[in-house]
Amino acid sequence: MIRFDNVAKRYPTGREGLAGVDLHLAPGEMAFLTGHSGAGKSTLLKLIGLLERATRGQVWVNSRNLNKLKHRDVPYHRREVGMIFQDHRLLHDRTVFDNVALPLVVAGMGHAEIQRRVRAALDKVSLLNKEKSPPISLSGGEQQRVGIARALVSKPPVLLADEPTGNLDPELSAEIMDLFVQFNQVGVTMLIATHDVALVNSLGKRIINLRDGRVESDTGASAA
């Protein structure tokens, strides 16, 4: 589903985000990206979501070579990759419902279908009763769940999360991870960057540890 062939990313500032990464994630696999800040976790996720482009090597997502993807196809690629951020990235002048509906509105979905899907997504993250609230009135954990509902509402085959529990206490973090495990069980390929090693170890999933832009260790590399 996701494949990196000797991928490097050097930023215009000269900083090296990735220094040659080979990686393969099978469809339906769930993996954690760990490592110190600056090890390249965010860069790796950005390359998958095409927020950045690789300076060397090839990135494949969903059988597409991202290097060859035209600018006008980037939005369509992003619709297949749900992204979850540490700072939630919610629109604070819109209701929870409208925030979650955004990917569907962008994709031009019909009104009735949007209603149905958004309710289903909010139900999964247990926020159905908050659909009319502004995000600012919610707690940090609830805001993160809105972000998660938005990422999964369009049922993307790939879900990425960058430090999704970074600002949450351990109990809420565990709740969020539980959600991710549930999504993975219905077949979503998941890649989650985190430095919460204790939590990750407790889940027994594949762990890819990055260091200075390279894969230092990988507990379950599947055959490439």
Partner: protein
Amino acid sequence: MSKGKAPKFRRNRNPLTWLLRHAQMSLSSLGRLSRNPLSTLMTAAVIGIAIALPSGLHLMIDNVRNLAGGWEGASSISLFLEQSLDDSQAEQIRHTVSLRPEVAEARLITKDQAMDEFRALSGFGSALDLLDRNPLPAVVLVRPSAAASSAEATGRLARELEAYREIEMAQVDLQWVRRLDAITHTLERGVGVLAALLAAAVLLIVGNTIRLEIQNRHSEIEIVKLVGGTDAFIRRPFLYEGIWYGLIGAVIAIILVLLALFLMQGPVERLVGLYQTRFDLTLLTSGTFLAILFGSPLLGLAGAWLAVGRHLKRIIPE
């Protein structure tokens, strides 16, 4: 599997959905503008004034033109006859002239009539009594027929009549009409230049307003890009905003022009009354009206497009 044939992206190409989305987008843009009524109206008012100015001037010149045209049609030729002719000879000339096809009417003012008129109008009454003979010539006033009423035809007619031995001089009361015509042409060109400059101003006003709007909604644009919004999708609300600004500006411009016409109606009637002609201010012709109503939104769209093209590309999600 990763190197197999890549699946095609699904694109929505249903024209009905597309149309519906545009309708929704245009309404939601209007809704966004109506949430800040004061700033929206101020921007639209600036556009309205910028458009009303050349439109109003154009209208005014048009009206003066019409007026001058009316006078030109009524222009006449004064034929001053030789002093030596007596009244019956003068009458004969009048008759000859009146038979020409280009002449609608020829009226004789005899020497005595001319004297009486001059005496009554000039106030030299008693002084004129001192003259031993009437120094005024008889005059034939010629009104050209409708077919010969153009400035050119009237001039030609005058020259031909002047060739008569009995006619000392033929004078066309037309020169000033031509001058007025030339002046209005010059003014019209000036208004054209002004209109072009103000159109550029409207473009910049809308462009700048949209640029600020894009800045204000920076994070929103970023998030829409993150969830897979196409450039067209992101562009659309801003383009519609430009169109709405233009349309509201057009309505304001039309109201301003009508208001100005209403205010001028009284003085103009009094002025025209002094010249003893009847004259109605023409309102906006449907052509000008449509030009404002469609041109202004187009300018708004173009202004928005300029801003959007330059600034949306710069927003790259992180």
